[in-house]
Amino acid sequence: MRQYLSKRIFSSILAITGLFVMVFFLARLTGDPGHLYLPIDAPLEVRKEFSEKHGFNDPIYIQFGKFLGDLIDGNLGYSLRKERPAIDIVLEAIPVTLSLAAVAMSIALVGAILIGSLAAYRPNGIFDRISRVVSLTAASAPDFWVAITAILIFSVSLGWLPTSGIGGVPYWIMPIGILVIRPLGLLVQVVRGSMITALSSDFVKTARAKGVKEKVVIFKHALRNGLLPVITVAGDQAAAIANGAVIVETIFGWPGIGKLMIDSIMQRDFAVVQASILITAIVILSINIIIDIAYAVLDPRIRHK
């Protein structure tokens, strides 16, 4: 297991390196930042000076070399726009996104396990049928539309919740609510499927024959076995949110990593783009490693391989 994990960590580092090289070159394909930073009628000399100052005139391999050198010094470059180290900007944005993702995923996971398990207990029962329709709807609802409709109802008409910004609990309700919907719908379906299999397993009969209460049969014996596929999907969903809940962050004006990335791409703020990609990549790969560990914790057969 330890060997497996160190292998995973090593391959993650390789992946990040590859990603980084790609991002560096692709970002430079989007065009000359000077065109966006300087006034449209800026004289040629000013443009040249700007490019000279930021090193955009050097051949690309020299730029890359410089970039690597800086990277080794722990320097991810300066934001052109904000004139601050890019890494500082990113490190301000990432906790916002991560706390959104953590809260949303926890709610989705706990909710899905409860609803999905109960639905699986009596497949085709009334609870199962209702939860199937609702979860399918939730999994397929477009979040931008839900977000706008929610603002219209809860902020504009009823005036209960603020339309955007960050602050106390009321500010969290709508963004979290909207982030939860889709993973919840999807996870309910995954939990239901894997719990139906787990509940019809032979070891469940053994537990019942021992006189174990139904609650324990479901939430101990079956759930521990049914959780593996759920974790895979939940990890995927968490990674997607961590990657920037772009729509929610934009609509609700949350200064998270998704919004930051979109803004800096629009502004050709290369250093910030690179730094945010590096940090999100590390986050996503960590989520994957956490999933691997969770697998091993849940299932001894994986642990002993």
Binding site: S201, D202, F203, K205, T206, A207, R208, A209, K210, G211, V212, K213, V216, H221, R224, N225, L298, D299, P300, R301, H304
Partner: protein, 533 residues
């Protein structure tokens, strides 16, 4: 009333049906039986006879729906447990009645340690603390003779061997010293020597605690060895019941007699041909070895002669299947030679190997897994001709498929059906038809009848013997069940830990075994002859 005479368990007029889309069908039809303290009742029947359904009703684990208890009562110490509320019922499960299941790998929860699964019984029924329950679990593991119990209690089911897992299951059933233990095919998946030990343990525990034991089995020999009373179930009905010895000596019902006649080791066969010393062997295995992480097969040599049935017996892990894989070239030996008509198949190029494979076919153990569920029978049987396209003209495929189906005892109309529409025995016939498709010289049967009911087993063995004469085949017949090999084989090889330890003509080896291991194997296989004679 005298305590010993009082019934622990009485099943009166029990009927169970299953509601399916095709209508309701009766799985158990008004059966009656009773069980007293210290007594062993064997419930005998083939798959689908209703024996496991009966056990699930007694244990309260019948899945309803589709199952439905139509009538009857199950009296435990005069209390009808079918009328109890779920929570009252639960208090009896595991504490008064416990069950031991067959397939321990799937019946033990894979993600909890065996210690905690046993300890759970005490937590549920006795409200003991985790620590005290654990201590008791360790003691139970020691009682069922798991070596090093305090350490092994922390291990998970997959870390135990099949026999040890069955001991864990028994420990779990024993935990609360129930009055009754139901053992549902407790030894079916186990090697004979381990089976003997498990049965011995069960008998010992029954006597020690004066429990009632219900043994559910399809194996008449096991019932003969361990039970006092027996009931024979067929299609949900009790067709025969009585004292075990009486039933076996003088079976009344035609079905019981049929079962008795199917017991392997009793088929009267035409006098076996004496070894053909003068004909050349088809296959010469010379000193082959195969090393994986361990030694799977070590310096194995033997010959296979034309029209001969060669049995290979041994327990799991003895290297039987490795030998078959090496002959089929599914794996390559680490050392040694395999000569086919004098040519070393290990030096074959692609084309030679292609032609060789035509001559050597295989029938596997699990007829449910070895047929592709998405192909119909016609496609399954004719596929070899698609691969070996020069073998048979496409126009003739249809008539040849029909010929093959008829020769394995199936109907020509079966060609358009799919595997799931057949029973286990029928599927094995299909697998045999497929093996015959390319007119092979050799068919390797790897535990080909192990998964089948006795009466079906006997039919398949007869079929194999007929086909041998009709198509002049040679078989390599791999099995852990010795009586089956005795019925079918001319010569037999006994393997242990990758080595051949004894070989010879079947009657010699079985009647006058030289090696202790062979004697142990023979002694461990249960038989009804001891009871009757």
């Amino acid at each position: 009333m005298n305590d010993a005479k009082k019934s622990l368990l009485k099943v009166n007029n029990l009927s169970v049906s299953f509601d399916t889309n095709e209508g309701s069908f009766d799985a158990v039809k008004s059966i009656n039986f009773d069980l007293k303290k210290g007594e062993t009742l064997a419930i005998i029947g083939e798959s689908g006879s209703g024996k496991s359904v009966t056990a699930s009703v007694i244990m309260g684990i019948l899945t309803c729906p589709p199952g439905r208890i139509k009538s009857g009562e199950v009296l435990l110490n005069d209390l009808d447990i079918l009328k109890l509320s779920d929570s009252d019922r639960r208090k009896l499960m595991g504490s008064k009645i416990a069950i031991i299941f067959q397939d321990t790998l799937s019946y033990l929860n894979p993600v909890f340690s065996v210690g905690s699964q046993i300890a759970e019984c005490f937590e549920v029924h006795k409200n003991l603390s985790k620590k005290d329950s654990w201590k008791k679990a360790v003691k139970l593991l020691e009682r069922v003779r798991i070596p090093n119990p305090s350490k092994r209690a922390k291990d998970f089911p997959h870390q135990f061997s099949g026999g040890q897992r069955q001991r864990v299951m028994i420990a779990m059933a024993l935990a609360l010293e129930p009055d009754i233990i139901i053992a549902d095919e407790p030894t079916t998946a186990l090697d004979v020597t381990i089976q003997a030990k498990i049965l011995e343990l069960l008998g010992e525990l029954r006597d020690e605690r004066n429990m009632g034991l219900i043994l559910i089995t399809h194996d008449l020999a096991i019932a003969a060895e361990i039970s006092d009373k027996v009931i024979v179930l067929n299609e949900g009905k009790i067709v025969e019941k009585g004292i075990t010895r009486d039933v076996f000596i003088n079976p009344n019902h035609a079905y019981t007699r049929e079962l008795m006649d199917s017991i392997p080791g009793k088929i009267t066969k035409q006098k076996k041909k004496i070894l053909k010393k003068f004909s050349d062997p088809i296959l010469e295995i010379k000193n082959i070895s195969k090393f994986y992480d361990t030694v799977a097969c070590d310096d194995v040599s033997f010959n296979l002669f034309p029209n001969e049935v060669l049995g290979i017996v041994g327990e799991s892990g003895s290297g039987k299947t490795t030998v078959s894989n090496l002959i089929l070239r599914l794996a390559s030996p680490s050392n040694g030679k395999i000569l086919y008509h004098g040519q070393n198949i290990l030096n074959f190029n692609k084309k030679d190997l292609f032609n060789f494979r035509r001559k050597v076919q295989v029938v596997f153990q699990d007829p449910y897994a070895s047929l592709n569920p998405t192909m119909n029978i016609y496609d399954i049987i004719s596929e070899p001709w698609v691969i070996h396209s020069d073998f048979l003209d496409k126009k003739l495929h249809k008539s040849k498929v029909i010929d093959l189906l008829i020769s394995v005892g199936l109907h020509p109309d079966d060609a358009i059906k799919f595997p799931h529409q057949f029973s286990g025995g029928q599927r094995q016939r299909i697998a045999i038809a497929r093996a015959l498709a390319l007119n092979p010289e050799i068919i390797i049967c790897d535990e080909a009848v192990s998964a089948l009911d006795v009466s079906i087993q006997a039919q398949i063995i007869k079929l194999l013997l007929n086909l041998r004469n009709k198509f002049s085949l040679s078989y390599i017949f791999i099995a852990h069940d010795l009586p089956v090999v005795k019925d079918l084989a001319d010569r037999v090889i006994v393997m242990k830990s990758g080595k051949i330890i004894e070989q010879g003509v079947v009657d010699d080896v079985f009647n006058f075994p030289r090696e202790k291991y062979t004697k142990d194997l023979l002694k461990a296989s249960p038989s009804i002859e001891n009871l009757i004679s």
